[in-house]
C-alpha cells in the first residue's frame, strides 16, 4: 500500500486542483473512458475539487455495463444447462438479463461460480472432465490477455470441456463512435491507463488528429486523475490536441507486446453491440476461427436468443455523456442497485450505481 499512499496525498491533490482552477478560462467537458476511473472519481470526491468550468462525463468504460442483454441471456441459458458450470467475475452475477440474473439461476440449481482469473476456470475444467465449463469472457483490452491465455492453454492441453462466451470490447472504436455521435459534448478524453498498459498508446494519435481531441492516458489514483485532468485542460486551453501519457509508471508507447501477440493469435476483430449504444463497427473481439472449438456461442446453440431493453432505461445516453445518471427519470425510482433496469446501475463501476451509492440523488 505504500506505493499507493503517495498517489493519494491530500495536499498535492489540492495543489493540482488549484492549478486546474488557475489555468481554466471556460467550460470543458472531459470524458473519463474507464469505469475504474469513474469509481475512483466518485469514491474520492475528485469532481468536487474541480472548478465549475470542468465537467467530467462518465464514459462507456465499464465492461459490465456495456455487455449486451443478449450476452447476459446467453450466459443465463448456459448456466441453466445441466452438467454445466458457468464461471464469471463477481460483478456479472447481479447483472439482470431479460427475466432474471445469474444469482437466480444459481438459486434454482444452476452451477455458477465466481472466479478471479479465467485460468481458474481452465483449472476447473481440468479437474471436472465430465462437466462443461464455460467462462464468461467480457471486458476491455485489459482482461483480454488472460482470456486469450485461457483459450490457448485449453487448446494446448486438448481440453474438450472448456469454452469461452466472449464479449470483448475495445476503447479506440468507442472514442470514435462518441466523437461521431450527434449531440456529442465531449471536448477531451482521459484514456484508460490499464487498457494502455496492454495496448500501448500507439493507437491513439490518429484518433486525436482526426477529431482534433486531446487524449491523455490517465491512471486511477486521485493524483493520477487530477494530473490527467490538468494536462487535458492545459491542452484544451492552448487549442492543442495531442496524445499525452500521464501514467508513465505503468504505460509506454508500445504496450505489452507479448500480450498483444497472444491476443492477435486468439482473437479476431468483430462488429460488437454495446448495451445502450448499439453496434459499433470493429469494436470488439471474438475467438479466431482456429479457436472455434473453444467458442461457447458455436459450441452451444444460442443463436436464437434475442432481448429487448427496458424502455425506461436511458443508460445509452448516460454512457454517451448526454445525460447525467441522476437526470434519468427512472434514477432512484424504478431503477436502483436493488432493482436495476440497466447495467450502469449494477456494477460498482457503472456511472448510475456510482452516483446512487455516493448519494447523488
Amino acid at each position: 500500500m505504500k506505493h499507493l499512499a503517495e498517489y493519494r496525498d491530500a495536499d498535492t491533490a489540492r495543489r493540482l486542483a488549484a492549478e486546474i482552477g488557475r489555468i481554466v478560462t471556460r467550460p470543458w467537458a472531459i470524458m473519463e473512458v474507464c469505469g475504474g476511473q469513474t469509481h475512483s472519481i466518485i469514491r474520492n470526491g475528485i469532481d468536487q475539487l474541480l472548478p465549475p468550468e470542468v465537467e467530467l462525463i462518465h464514459g462507456p468504460g465499464c465492461p459490465v455495463c456495456v455487455t449486451p442483454l443478449e450476452t447476459i441471456d446467453r450466459a443465463l441459458a448456459i448456466a441453466r444447462r445441466p452438467g454445466t458450470i458457468l464461471c464469471s467475475f463477481g460483478d456479472m452475477l447481479r447483472v439482470p438479463g431479460s427475466r432474471e440474473d445469474l444469482f437466480a439461476v444459481k438459486a434454482a440449481g444452476g452451477d455458477v461460480r465466481v472466479v478471479y482469473s479465467p485460468l481458474d476456470a481452465v483449472k476447473l475444467a481440468r479437474s471436472q472432465p465430465d462437466r462443461e465449463v464455460v467462462f464468461l469472457a467480457i471486458g476491455f483490452e485489459t482482461t483480454a490477455p488472460a482470456n486469450a491465455m485461457a483459450a490457448k492453454l485449453a487448446a494446448q492441453e486438448g481440453l474438450t470441456n472448456f469454452s469461452l462466451l466472449v464479449s470483448h470490447v475495445l476503447v479506440p472504436p468507442a472514442i470514435q463512435a462518441i466523437m461521431r455521435s450527434p449531440g456529442n459534448r465531449v471536448n477531451a478524453f482521459l484514456a484508460a491507463g490499464h487498457v494502455c498498459s496492454v495496448m500501448g498508446t500507439w493507437q491513439y494519435p490518429p484518433v486525436a488528429a482526426e477529431f482534433r481531441v486531446p487524449i491523455v492516458v490517465t491512471g486511477f489514483e486521485p493524483l493520477d486523475l487530477l494530473e490527467g485532468i490538468r494536462r487535458t485542460v492545459a491542452q484544451l486551453e492552448a487549442s492543442r490536441h495531442e496524445v499525452e501519457n500521464a501514467y508513465p509508471r505503468v504505460v509506454d508507447e508500445r504496450g505489452n507486446e507479448a500480450a498483444q501477440r497472444v491476443i492477435a493469435e486468439v482473437f479476431t476483430p468483430v462488429d460488437r453491440a454495446w448495451r445502450g449504444i448499439g453496434v459499433i463497427p470493429e469494436s470488439g473481439w471474438r475467438l479466431a476461427d482456429a479457436y472455434a472449438a473453444y467458442d461457447a456461442e458455436r459450441k452451444f446453440d444460442l443463436g436464437g436468443i434475442t432481448a429487448e431493453e427496458s424502455p425506461l432505461c436511458k443508460s445509452g445516453e448516460v454512457l454517451k455523456g448526454t445525460l447525467k445518471p441522476n437526470q434519468c427519470p427512472a434514477f432512484g425510482r424504478e431503477c436502483t442497485p436493488r432493482t436495476p433496469l440497466g447495467a450502469t446501475m449494477v456494477s460498482s463501476e457503472g456511472a448510475c450505481a456510482a452516483y446512487y451509492n455516493a448519494g447523488r440523488r
Binding site: M1, L4, R8, A10, A13, R14, G36, H39, I42, R43, N44, G45, I46, D47, Q48, L49, P63, V64, F89, G90, D91, M92, L93, R94, V114, Y116, D120, I138, G139, F140, T142, T143, H194, P222, P337, R338, S347, S348, E349, Y356, N357, A358, G359
Partner: protein
Amino acid sequence: MADQPFPPDFSQFTCPAPLRDRPQIVLGHGGGGALSQDLIEHVFLPAFGNPVLDRLGDSSVLDLAPHLAGGGRLAFSTDSYVVRPLVFPGGSIGDLAVHGTVNDLAMSGARPLYLSAGFILEEGLPIADLVGIVARMAAAARAAGVAIVTGDTKVVERGHGDGVYINTAGIGVVPPGIDLGPKQVVPGDAILVSGTLGDHGMAIMSVREGLEFEAAITSDTAPLHGLVAAMLEACPAIRLLRDPTRGGVATSLNEIAALADVGIEIDEAAIPVSPLVASACEILGLDPLQVANEGKLLAVVPAAAAGDVLAAMQAHEHGRAATPLGRVVAHHPGRVALRTTLGGSRVIPLPLGEQLPRIC
C-alpha cells in the same frame, strides 16, 4: 486463537473411545439412540462438561436470581453459524459460535453467562474434525467465562450441509443502571471503533477463494464482553454498542443512523485497516467498510467521555488499536457520510448483500 496452527494438525489425534468404530458421522448419530449417546459421552461432555450440562436433563435449570439481584436485566440472543471453511486462519466455526453470541449479548452491555449449542452435522463428517471444532468451541467458552448448558445434535444426509452448522443461544445479565440503545444517541456524540476493520471477512475470503497473499490474513474472532465491561466502567452512559459482523461497519453505521434518526459522519483518514487487508481489498475491489469483523465493536459515546472510553479501550487486549472514527450529526438524518482524505464527501450506502469482487 492466532497461536493455533493452520490447518489444524489432526495427525496426533486418537479417538477417545471406539465410537462404535465409526470414523465418520452417520445418520444414526442424530437418531437419539446409542450412537447419539456415544457422541454426547465421548465428544461433547468431555469438552463442554459442567455441573449443569452433566445432569443431561431435557432442559437445563438455571438459578439466575443472584445475577439479577439489585435490578439487573436478562439479555437473550441467538445466532447460527454456517461458515465455510470450518477452520480458517485465526479461528474456526467453534470459536465463532461462542464469540458471535457472546458479543451479541455484550453489545447490550450484558455479562454473558450461559450458552446453548445446537449442532447440525452432515453425514460423512470425520469425527476427528468434529472433535477439533468442539475442542476449540470449549476453549473459547472457557476463555469467555460462559458455560454451555444445553445442546442438541441432528444429522442431515450427505450433500445437505457444509459439514457442520452450529446454532448458539445465549443468556446474559445487564447490570443495573446500564441502558444502551439508539434512542440515547444524540448529535455531537463521538463514534469510536475498537480496532482494524475487515480482518475476519478477508481471512475467510482469501482461504475460500484460494487467494494467496504474502502472509495469511488472520480472523479477528474474539469475545468482547471484557472490553465492554471496561468501557462501561469508564463511562456508564455509553449510548450504543454494535459489533459490525456481516455487512461490516457500513451496515452497522447505517442501522444506527436509521434507528436513531441522526446523521453520521466518518473520516476516511481515520478508518483503521491493516496493510494486508487494505492490499487484499484493493486487489479485489472490496471496501473494508463492508467486510465482516468478528472481534470489533463500534461505540457511540458522549463526546465529553470519548477520551476516557478510548483510553479504557486501548488498555484492553481487544481494544489496543481503538481509534475515533467519526461523529453523530444533526443534518442528513438516516444517512452516513464519509469525508474523503481529499476533502470531498460521499454517502456510505447500506450494502446490498454479497460482496462482489470488481472485474478490473
